[in-house]
Amino acid sequence: MTLQAERVDEVVAALRTVLADDQILTSKTDRFNRARVPAPFPVHRWAERVPDLAVLPTSTEQVAGVLRIANDLRIPVVPRDGGTGLTDGAVPLHGGILLDVKRMNRIKELDLDNRTVTVGTGINMLKLNEELARHGLFYPDDPASYPCSLVGGRIGTSGWSLIGSRYGHTRDLVLSFDHVLPTGEVLHVGDGIGHKISKSSSGYQLKHLFMGHQGTLGVATEATLKLYPKPEAELSPFWAFDDYDDAYRCVGALARAGVATFAGAVLFDEWKVAYLRRDDEAYIPQPGDVRALVCAVMYGYEDEVRPAGRRLFRIAKEHGARYLGDEISEGDWAARHDRYATPLHGRTKDGQVVPMSWHCEDAAVNYTNLPSLSRAWHEIVAGLRRQTDVFDDWGMFAYTSADTGVDYLTEIDVGIWEQQLDDRAWELWVRAKRDIAAVALAHQGSISACHGSCRAGEVDLVPDELGRGFDVMLDLKRTLDPHNIMNPGKYLLDRAYETGERP
């Protein structure tokens, strides 16, 4: 919280010209409950991230009105949708107005002929798909947070989808959207100006610019999405391996096979398998010689998926895979969104159960660099564990990002005992995050494939990753947000303002 009480009154009075009273929230609980995301942060510092007030607009016009007022009064604005991101995009660092778009969750238009749907950005993908299912359609943006994350957050973070190897990721699936600039002006962003155009070469390609900015360049309010037929068949075999190396070779071969229905493959490393053994009743009971797993998933029509499955099974067998059977394969894939990371799996080194927050550090990296990067990351977390039980290694996944197997989203899941996360432990963690990001860059990767990279630690290396591109970011930020009101403090963008101006 940063504003004086009188200043808050002034802001509220101004907001009343565009919002109804019940859309302006100033109570302590309203503010405290919009200060957090799942990524762990020291609980005793919670108050540092609390906004001064929250607003719940229901239209693009209202969002524009709020931003105009904030720009005039030089008040920070932090857009928040699902609040499920892991890089603090939706967390206020300097108080101000928290702009919560969850109420903008209507389906505005379903175009069955062009296969698009236009929605408010506060809608959840699972809920949207419940409606689309009646028309035999689906919107295949499928993050781990699928049951709770919302379309606007997917745009603001440029999200990554588990089945993106078949259907593309958020950037491919969102055709266009209404976007409110920090000054309150509204523009439509797509390929060209079209609402339902998937490929244009007219002008600069602005769509990518206004995705993944973590709320620093404005707010998406209404989006037009690309739809697909709801797949008739799904095949998701899980295979076990004696060691990581075989599993690694297998996942590469599966991804390179070029099977059209291939929607993704996942590699579970040895640490992940050891982690899953913590709860062998709820998880697949496996003999001790299972040390790594691979899962592949295919979507399509029955007569496409069957032969494709035969091909992938053949490849897996050539790599020493043991099929885990239909029950585990179907059950585990169906339960993919909430199967693995629960606070109850937290352990001290000698086995005491303690409630831990799940945190996930990710990177984008080429196939050939996966094993070396994984070793280096586990060693960083081992370094933390040598010092304290606040941290726990929950293993790594690697997921194909594309249909050719060129690059992978890889993540290390780290349990963090939030009740014990004091200032020293937090410092250790920030340093570890920086080290993790440095390893990704040293492996010719990118700091993040899906979360974004604006949290403490990793963010220090963003200028290194982007080089001259980071200066372009600063120039764009200054141009579009002259008073630095949009989500100030993120991505080191305060550097764009020579005087360090901050409202």
Binding site: L25, F32, R34, V43, L126, Y244, D279, K349, D350, P355
Partner: protein, 458 residues
């Protein structure tokens, strides 16, 4: 090459994958000196003045802290889109996640019970969030853990009342309930002790006995067709039962709103009354009472409660049909869907028997929606919500009826009297009747039910 044999110099036990707590783990794992964990976890942060006695909020948090952290740490929020209140308000302050996070904030001294109390009104105690929680869903059995949002909500409401922080509607409701020994439901039948059996006019039911039928306030004074249907079906099956000597409200609503002392006083009266008539079996037609009698009363009375058998009428009827003691034969020409009452489906896992009954009724076209999809359905009628926020109850019921309308049905069947009033109101706009499952079964058994479905004169 496996990840285990990296062969780097200086590697220790932490350099290889292991599962903590396994018998054959290297002893080395127990020998690391922890630089951070190990100091006693303070109840209050080490700020100056922490020697003062803990606040009521901190004492409360000490009890609920770990339960709250299991949610707070998770941060999944998978509960959010199944929460009936969240679905209609889209307000993040009124989510299961917030209800747990507030406990953590109270422990840290950031929030007081006065700050949070009004937020906790916004919960129907339907239990959907608990089921949808990954902690319950996938690991609960192994760890014997269940997310307990409903209990947290009840506990915070009780703390608020204890600290003198009242919601005006609830305070009045409970005062009137206390005065009349029944909830002040609106309708033509005056709510008072002498009218509690008016619904049974002409049925000539005995009082007391081994088995009694407990009729909740809404059914006794407002939707009297429900108990009339139940009593006549029981009689048709030759099932012996009586009415309570002096029935008071079960006390459940008071418990749900945080008025714990009153709830326990009412419970005490009812238990004593059962004892005075030699009653050992209580038939329950209302899911809310079923929760009170199977969850609250055992907590209040412990061993003293032993020997009281609580029977849910819907389950009993399904059994009587199975045994051939009831055979619905009058065709009911309706296209229906079934509304799973939250307290049966989500809180108690009872969803099979109502469907068994409906499938036994000839003439029905049954467009069923599975019980898991119905985790996110609710009438909004529970947890005291309609007393404090009738507009939210109405919005939740409307959403529920929109789902029914999508199935092209003319009738929605429920098994919970408290859901039927708000659902009926919402049904008017959709031209869908709301019928109680007991009423429907009675019709198919050729019974002239009588009574009223809308609180009017019968």
């Amino acid at each position: 090459m496996t990840q285990t044999d990296r062969g780097a110099g200086g590697a220790d036990a932490l350099s290889s994958p292991f599962t903590p707590g396994m018998r054959d783990n290297p002893e080395e794992l127990g020998r690391y000196v922890d630089g951070i964990v190990g100091r006693p976890l303070p109840l209050v942060d080490g700020e100056p003045g922490h020697d003062e006695p803990p606040t009521p909020e901190q004492e409360f948090a000490a009890e609920w802290r770990n339960a709250a952290y299991n949610c707070f740490s998770s941060g999944h929020k998978f509960c959010r889109e199944v929460c009936p209140v969240m679905q209609v308000t889209r307000n993040e302050s009124w989510t299961p996640t917030a209800f747990h996070a507030n406990v953590v904030a109270m422990e840290k001294g950031e929030l007081s019970v006065a700050d949070v109390a009004a937020d906790y009104v916004n919960c129907t105690q339907c239990g959907a969030c608990e089921l949808r929680c990954p902690n319950t869903l996938f690991t609960g059995d192994f760890y014997r853990f269940r997310t307990r949002t409903v209990d947290v909500v009840k506990a915070v409401r009780a703390l608020a009342v204890d600290q003198g922080v009242h919601q005006e509607g609830w305070r009045t409701w409970n005062a009137r309930t206390d005065e009349r020994t029944h909830e002040p439901v609106l309708g033509d039948v005056p709510v008072s002790q002498e009218h509690v059996r008016d619904w049974s006019a002409g049925l000539d039911l005995p009082i007391g006995g081994e088995t009694v039928l407990f009729v909740d306030c809404e059914a006794a004074f407002y939707r009297t067709s429900v108990p009339r249907a139940v009593a006549q079906i029981l009689r048709l099956a030759g099932y012996e039962f009586g009415l309570m000597g002096e029935q008071w409200c079960c006390g459940g609503p008071a418990a749900e709103m945080g008025y714990v002392d009153q709830a326990q006083r009412f419970a005490r009266h009812n238990l004593d009354d059962w004892r005075s008539t030699g009653t050992t079996r209580v038939l329950v037609l209302d899911p809310h009472d079923y929760i009170s009698f199977t969850e609250d009363y055992p907590r209040y009375f412990g061993d003293e409660y032993a020997g009281i058998e609580v029977v849910l009428v819907v389950e009993l009827f399904a059994q009587l049909i199975r045994e051939g003691r009831l055979t619905p034969s009058v065709p009911v020409e309706r296209t229906i869907t079934y509304h799973d009452p939250c307290r049966l489906n989500k809180r108690k896992g009872i969803w099979k028997e109502p469907r068994e009954i409906l499938r036994a009724i000839p003439g029905l076209t049954f467009n069923d929606v599975d019980r898991v999809t119905q985790w996110s359905y609710c009438s909004g009628g529970g947890g005291g919500l309609p007393v404090e926020k009738p507009e939210l109850t109405a919005a939740i019921s409307e959403r529920r009826m929109e789902k029914a309308a999508g199935l092209d049905v003319d009738t929605l069947v429920s098994a919970c009297p408290w859901s039927e009033r708000p659902l009926s109101a919402a049904g008017e706009g959709q031209d869908i009747d709301v019928v109680d499952i007991h009423e429907l079964l009675a019709v198919s058994l050729g019974i002239e039910v009588g009574g009223t479905t809308d609180g009017g004169a019968s």
